[in-house]
Symmetry: C2
Amino acid sequence: MSTTTYQVTGMTCGHCVSSVTSEVSEIAGVTDVRVDLASGQVTVTSSGDPVDPAQVRAAVEEAGYQLAS
Amino acid sequence: MSTTTYQVTGMTCGHCVSSVTSEVSEIAGVTDVRVDLASGQVTVTSSGDPVDPAQVRAAVEEAGYQLAS
């Protein structure tokens, strides 16, 4: 199991959290996504190796937000 | 036709705009709802008399936001 935390910018409300959670949850291998709206931290847990950060970035952008770095 | 503008607080993103638009649009007689996110102004157009402000307040609260006054 792997857990990686990303910093996401632009989330302003619970709808934003739902959108990011939904998109990141669709990545193959992801078993849990936790979003903290106040800090912008998105913690992604996967069953095996960490998921490709490029996939996380793409999912966050699909939801309409950006990774901070 | 009647048009009334309300001030709504708490909307922070496009999802919020969608929620308010959807709820207010369900009020009987309402023919158009325009939301300006930056100002928080929600302009409600109805086919006949103005809709009861209490109904607008209830719809805004149902969406999870508040009328400013």
